[in-house]
Each structure stands twice: as C-alpha cells, then as structure tokens.
Subunit: 338 residues, 2 copies
Amino acid sequence: MKRPTIADIARRAGVSKGAVSYALNGQPGVSAETRARIQAIAQEIGWRPNLAARSLSGARVDAIGLVLCRPARFLGVEPFFMELISGIEGELAASSCALMLQVVPDHEAEIAIYRRWWGEGRVDGAILVDLHADDPRVPVVERLGMPAVVTGHPSGAGSLPAVWSDEVAVLREVIEYLAALGHRHIARVAGLPALLHTRIRDEAFSEICAELGVSEHPVAHTDYTGEQGARATRRLLSSRSRPSAIVYDNDIMAVAGLSVAQEMRLDVPAELSIVGWDDSPLSQVVRPALTAVTRDIPASGAHAARTLLQLIGSGEPGSLEGPPARLLPRGSTAPARP
Amino acid sequence: MKRPTIADIARRAGVSKGAVSYALNGQPGVSAETRARIQAIAQEIGWRPNLAARSLSGARVDAIGLVLCRPARFLGVEPFFMELISGIEGELAASSCALMLQVVPDHEAEIAIYRRWWGEGRVDGAILVDLHADDPRVPVVERLGMPAVVTGHPSGAGSLPAVWSDEVAVLREVIEYLAALGHRHIARVAGLPALLHTRIRDEAFSEICAELGVSEHPVAHTDYTGEQGARATRRLLSSRSRPSAIVYDNDIMAVAGLSVAQEMRLDVPAELSIVGWDDSPLSQVVRPALTAVTRDIPASGAHAARTLLQLIGSGEPGSLEGPPARLLPRGSTAPARP
DNA sequence: CTTGATTACTGAACCGCTTCATGGAAGCCT
DNA sequence: AGGCTTCCATGAAGCGGTTCAGTAATCAAG
C-alpha cells in the first residue's frame, strides 16, 4: 500500500537503484533493453518520483512562483490576472511544472515570499508582474540568484529578462485614430501612477498628443477600480471644457466611464468616444461595445512562462518579444462633433 | 554563500543536529536556554528549513492545491475565482502555507493532477470547487486518502467535508422579494447545468416559484459567459409573454442582460427587473446598479482554507457552515407593471 | 595480443531534516 | 546508598532520489 520507490523497481528489475535512476531520467548509462524493462516496471507498479527526494538532491522542483501584489478587492475585478494565469498554466502544463501562487498586500511581503520560496527550495524561478518604477523586487531577486522573468518594460528590469510588447506603439495607434476622427481634447484615465507602465504610457501619451496637435490631454490617475474610474470620468466630464474622447487603462474603468456618460445623458459615441484597454469580454457585453486595445493576455502569460522555463533550463532567456497589442474599433468611438 | 543548514547551527551551538531540530520545532528534548541559543543562531545566520528535506522525512509540505476546471476563456471574466483565491491565500498566509494552482480543461485532467500532486508529495491537501452532480473527483480523492474539502452542497461531497452556505434560502429571499413586488413571471438565466449548485438552484427555483404563485418561471442554461447570457436574455425578452424579472447566476450575465434590455429599449427597472449573483464590483459600475445576491467570496475561500488546514492538522474538519449570502437590493429591481 | 576507449552497471555517498534508541546526569523516594 | 524516574542531549538510521567513482566486460585500434 506504500508508494513504490526506485528501490522497489530496482529489486524487481534485478538492478541497482542507480541504474533505475538513469533509466527513468533518460540519461546514458543503461542499455536500451534494460531501460525499457525498468520503464515497464515503473509503469506497472505506478511509480512516481518523489518530489522532495528529487529536489533534495539538487534537481529541479518543477514549480515556479507568481506573486500578485494588489489588495485583494482589486484583484477580482481585473480579468487580467486570471487570464494571465491561465496562459501561464497552459505553458507550464506541457512541462508538468506547477504554479505556486501567492497574493500579498505590498512589495515588502512579496520580497519576503521570494526569499522564502527560494530559500526553502520551493520554486525553480518566478515571474514578476506589475513592475514599478525603481522596483525594489528587482535587485533582491537579482541578488538571490533566482531565475526570474519580468513582464514589463525592460528599462525597469535591471539584469532580469523582460518580456514585453510595445505599448507606446499601440498608444500611438489609438491617438492617431482618435485624432483622425477629429478629437482635439483627449483625456486619459490611467492606473496606479507607481506602476512603470503607467509612467511610460503617461509620458508617451503627452508626447504623442502634442505631436499630433491634440491640444488638451489631461491625465487622471486611479487605482484601477470602477469606482475611481467613474469618479475620474465624472470630474473630466464636468469640467468647463470637457474631453470628446477618453482612453482608459483598463476595461472596468471604461465600463464605469460609459455608465457615468449615460448618467450624465451624454451619448456615446456621438458626444463622447471611449477606448478601453485589455479588451476583456466585459467590453463586448456593454452597449455600445467598447473600442479597445486588445492584447492576447493568455498568450503573453504563456510567453513569460516559456521564457522562464528556458531560463531555468539553459540559463538563456530566449526570445523576449511578446505578442503585440492592437486597437480594435467597436461602437464606442466616433468622429468628434465639430 | 551556501544556504545554512541545521548542521551549521549545530556546529556553532556546539550541540548535535538532533538537538537543533528539536529546538527549532518547539519539541521537548532540549532545555529552554539551549533552545533560545539555537534559535538565536538560526535567526542570525538566516537559516530556513529546507522544504524538500523536511517533507522527505515525512513531515508536511505546507502547501495545498487548488485546481480550476473551466476553459481558460471563461475563467478570466468570473471575478469569483480570483476573489476565492485571495480569500484562501489570506488564510494560508497566516500558516505560511503555499497554494499550488492549476487550470485544467476537464475532470479527467483534474483527477490526474490530484494523483500527481498527492503521489509526488507536493501538497498536503486540496480544495475542490465547482462540484458536479455525481462528481467523479470525489471518489478518487477519497480513495487517494488526500485531505480535501469541497466547496459546495454536502449532498455531492461523499465522505469529504463540505463547506457551504444555504443557497436555497437566499434564492427564496430573492423570489419572495420579487413576488412581493408583484412579479408573476420570473425567468432565471442559469449557469452550467452539470454543476451541482445549478441543479439545486434549478429545483429550488421552480419549487419556490410554484409555492409563491409565480406562475411562469422559465430557466435558460448557459456557460456563464456574457455572450450566452445576452443570447438567453434576448430570447426570453423576445418571447410572446416576456418575464418582468430575470435572475442571473452571475454578474457578467446580468450586465449582459442589462445591455440587451437597453438594446431592446426596455427600461430597467421599470419594465424589467434584474437580479445578479455574486455581486462583484461590476454590479455597481453599471447603470442602474444591479440588485444582487451578495456573498463574501473571499470569506468563504478563507473558510474553506481554514477547514482544510484543520483537517490536515487534526484530522477533524471543524465547522462547516460558511458565511451566508443575502440579497442586496439596488437600482435594477422595481415593482412589476400591472 | 596488448592497449585504450567505450559501454553497462554497481555501490556508496550525499542532499537536509526528523526521529528513535540510547545514555549520562541529576533529582526523588524509600 | 541504591534504585527510580525525569530531563537533556547524542548518534545514527532513514526518507527517496541523484551522482560520482569504480569495475567488469566488450570492442576497435595498433
């Protein structure tokens, strides 16, 4: 009734434990027949490698870590993370690697987790998300020597490989599109200002707007919740000169913004154009359906996972260019009124 | 530069490895002073238990498993899972226990994961979600002898402890409320028919409606996506006698239903009352804000985790009664038109 | 036929921790 | 004083793998 071990296999096959280990790990040192015989026995008695034993002798633990660092109540709403996770999973499953997940309130806790995971030998590496400006996690992880990939702009990733897609290019696409529709006052409801990608978008936004003759381009920062998205929208729409288009940093805020517009009896898209970001199914469920920046989040999760596995395996990160995002026009954008 | 081990501590403290082990695990066998001295040294040199070594000698691995079995694209939209996870995490963090997460396409794969996890000694137990009618996972997990708790109705959990809250009671609350508002034709847009809780709600719904004189009470089954929610709503609202109220099995479908009503120029709540389920922030972002069944999902996740930890620790599951759900009326429900 | 390389396999050490059998010292009782 | 626990602490075995040094056998080359 006890779990079979390689010693059991060795006994039945009449060979040594070492030979069994070689046979089952595809390493040279045993003949093809012996290998086949051993594999057959392993199969027959339902042997599985004991993870602990294996990792104790210095091998991989076949698990990677992901720490999400946002207050719990914000996490649920953002379809982003769940999609990212399912993408990561898809890739990991192929290598029968497991995912350790932890949700923490702040970076300090997150760093403690990395220390612990790596110290205890619980993971082979980790994926870092939500890169901040001057992110404290990066130097710690570098020092730990734990393999890690960062999802976000390479500028903040230090020596860690970063998988990313060119957000500035999409943002340009969005603004060019809106500018071409005649919008000259475009607002942006952005996410957490501490996040690196928020800063990058902020900067690009103002540059591109200036360049394209979009004279007014206010930015409001939020915590990504619908509530704050609604509040920011209300403020923007109540100001003396109100924007004719608003670009949101996620979908939930875009939906909230849409509701505020309706509440204020503004017609979308006739009087206000709305662009969402991330394009979760949410965008298509509301009326009008939201024009949005769409990016394949599961694919980018898969890409990050693949890169990490390569890094763990060979020490080389491989390709870092992620799947590109693009603008998907739907019903919430229209020409600006003269 | 190598990680310190108990042998290092033993050397510095001038005692044996065994003594160190006893000291650090709070077990009798060492004097108070020695214990303190050993702990101080451990602290000083930054010792952490090697997980693999510990679990190899039969101790706990301090990790529990959670397998989500829904197609990836449905997972993201449902804030439910992310909230559940963050609730579980909150509880686990206190016991510095980790969470292994896996997303699989079907029950067969899920069962394979449990076999693997338990076989490899990767987890101490698991939480089973999305109980199906005649769920094949239950007997497998029972046979494996892996500690597990089920979130869902005890009727389907076999000998496994089930943490649950009384859904029938809330459903009754909803229908009584709608009936009191004069609704006599209430539709229900339900989730996956294979899920046990869908069946339970289905049955309760028809019974309670009959009992309360709600003469018509059609049910449409969906896959929980906004798309199918919209389609079901469209069909219901296009039928000869259309319902004056619709109860949805999740929020995203309720929002989709709201959009369909708007699209069909039906006023919500004047002409159609809408009730959502789960009450994610989504419900409050749309106009009108959705009346919804609200339940503290993180709390129920925490409860499940707590129960599992107790089960692992003592073999006894402890309390099984979860936090109750209740109806939270907002703007999407109103008296039926005469 | 010797030499050297290669192949197939063994035996033992080792990874870091837990735990059990053992033993010495101290304290209590009669 | 001798015999009894009780308390602290030790040493070694063992968990289930990996891996390295070593060995015997086979084979090609010189």
